[in-house]
Every structure is written in C-alpha cells, then in structure tokens.
C-alpha cells in the first residue's frame, strides 16, 4: 500500500499540488528535472532560476535554492551566479518566449561564450501566462490570440529552431538536444546529460522540451497529446544535436 506520492526527492512536497494548469507540460519537465537532480545527488548544489511567464510558477517547486527573475533574464542571472561560484549547478528554466524572443540575445551569447550553465526551455508554441499569444515557436497556421487567423509565416516568419541555432553556435563540449514530454524517459536522459555536461565543465548545455498548453490550446487530453506528438514534431525534430565527445548530427 502506497501512502506517499512518488515525487522526486528534490521536489518540495509542501508546495504541491503545484501551480501549473491541469495537463500542463511544465509538471512533466520539472518531474524529469527533479529525478535527474536526485539521481546525480546534486540537490544541495543546485541554483535554479526561473523566468517570467508560466515558468515563474516553479520558483518554490524544488527543495533547492531558486531565484525568480525577469522575462528573458534567467540566463544572465544564472550566468552571474555560475561565474562567481563555479561550484554551483545552475539551471535556467524558461519558456519559448523567454528564450527565443525577449531573451534570445542572452541565450545566443551565453551559448557562444559556452557558459557552464544548463538552460531548459519549455516549448509550448505560445505565451501561456499572458493568455496565449503568438510565440516564436507558434506553428505555421496555428491560431493564437495575436494570430487569430492562423500564423502567417510570410508576415511573421517561421517557428524558431532553437536547438538547431544553439547547436550551430556552440563549440564541441556543449550539449544540445530537443526532447518531448511525450517521451519522458528520453527527455529525462537528455536533461541528465545536460546536467552532466555542466558537472564535467565541458560546455553549455541546452534542452528544449516540447510541451503542452491545454489551457490556451483549448484541447482535451486526446488533442493535447496529438498536438505534441504529431503537429509539433513536424517542425521540431526530437533528438540530440550535440553531445560532448560525439560527432555532430547524431
């Protein structure tokens, strides 16, 4: 008979149930993050930073130190921590807007400088917290509050290919991957490799996680999974793009 839920040890039970919407992918990504922290035994060394956007709701998610920053600014805050205290394991947690729009210069430059931090970016194709506006990752033709007739790529460009970009600008030693909440075992492995990359100090580590926003997508569970597994993967290829010690393009 199980009396306690099977939460990662690094989760802070006192703040559960967490603040994310029913069916939100953040819970899944943060579960994978928590399990990786447990398995690597680094809970006491973690400095977790969250962006503004839905990711801000994770500020008290873990039994680790955590800093809630500004929209797009988590990467520099955590870079600041890491530069001053290299013994800390720094995770910058953000959404697609934070990483690819307002904070893209920080992502690009942290990656270029090969900062020894781990960026985990949750891609749900829209701005969730502000009410479902078009994001850099909104799919072509996808309806959002600011693309009510569907995203017109002629006018607004194509979905940002984040890991591809980061992979192109990081040197050997960095880790870059795109996982999905539809394949949690794989996503967890990617996050673990990202954190190991930071632990080994070989380079920047970046994982984009394809995730769901049933609230703004206005999808039921079936359509939610369908969108993540079938629609999103048409544009966002799941897999590792750069692994320390391995040739590129795996």
């Amino acid at each position: 008979m199980a009396l306690a839920p099977n939460m990662p040890k690094a989760w802070r039970a006192e703040t559960k149930p967490h603040k994310f919407c029913p069916g939100c992918g953040h819970g899944l990504v943060l579960k994978a993050v928590g399990e990786c922290i447990d398995e690597l035994g680094i809970q006491d060394r973690i400095v977790f930073g969250c962006d503004i956007g839905c990711s801000l709701l994770s500020w008290d998610f873990f039994n680790t130190d955590a800093i809630q920053t500004h929209h797009g600014r988590t990467t520099p805050v955590l870079t600041g921590v890491k530069r001053a205290r290299p013994d800390r394991i720094c995770i910058a947690y953000m959404g697609d807007g934070g990483g690819y729009a307002i904070g893209s210069q920080h992502l690009v430059n942290a990656a270029s400088r090969n900062e020894k931090v781990t960026v985990i970016l949750v891609n749900n194709c829209n701005y969730g917290m502000t009410g479902g506006q078009m994001a850099p990752t909104t799919l072509p033709g996808m309806k959002t509050e600011t693309s009510p007739y569907g995203r017109d790529v002629e006018a607004t460009g194509n979905p940002t290919q984040g890991p591809e970009m980061v992979s192109a600008i990081t040197p050997e030693g960095a880790y870059v991957a795109r996982g999905t909440t539809a394949n949690l075992r794989q996503l967890k492995k990617m996050i673990k490799k990202a954190l190991e990359t930071q632990l080994n100090g070989t380079g920047f580590s970046f994982v984009e996680a394809l995730s769901a926003c049933p609230t703004n997508w206005r999808t039921n569970a079936k359509d939610t999974w369908n969108f993540v597994e079938k629609e999103m993967t048409q544009y966002f290829k799941v897999g590792e793009l750069k692994v320390p010690g391995e040739k590129e393009g795996k």
């Binding site: 199980a2 939460m7 069916g23 899944l28 909440t181």
Partner: protein, 84 residues
Amino acid sequence: MVSTAYKYTQKNCDRATFTLFTGLCKGCGLCMEKCPVKCLEWSNDLGVYGTPTIIPKDVESCTGCGMCQLVCPDCAIVIEKIKK
C-alpha cells in the same frame, strides 16, 4: 509547514495496486489517453480542483505498466505491481 499527507483512493487490480492521490489530481486526463490498454475512466471522486479524478474501470485490464504514473504531471498516481 503545510501538511503533505494527501487524500487518496486505491483500487486493487489483479496485477497492480492503483493509488490515486485526489489531493494532487487536477483531472487533466493525460493518463487516460496514454494508457496502452485504455483501462482508465473518470471517477466519482473529485480532485484538488473539484474535477473528476480517474480510476481503473475494472480489476482485470490494468497491466501495471506504469505509463499513467509516468505521464502524470502532478505525481498523483502510484502503481505498484503485484508480484506473483
């Protein structure tokens, strides 16, 4: 400190014990969709947001594979396989 003891319901299936923490379940239904044998259905027990939770519809079909536990964003499900 907030109490971390959550209310739960259990169902003893043939091959696994299914535990659902109603204090954590938000009724999103992701687990239902991912269940490979489609053995889950909406329950009369309400979850943390006052929405229906889930329960195996019978004791036979659950294989104890743990997929529902894996995909629950809220860690509301625990599956314990019964070793025979």
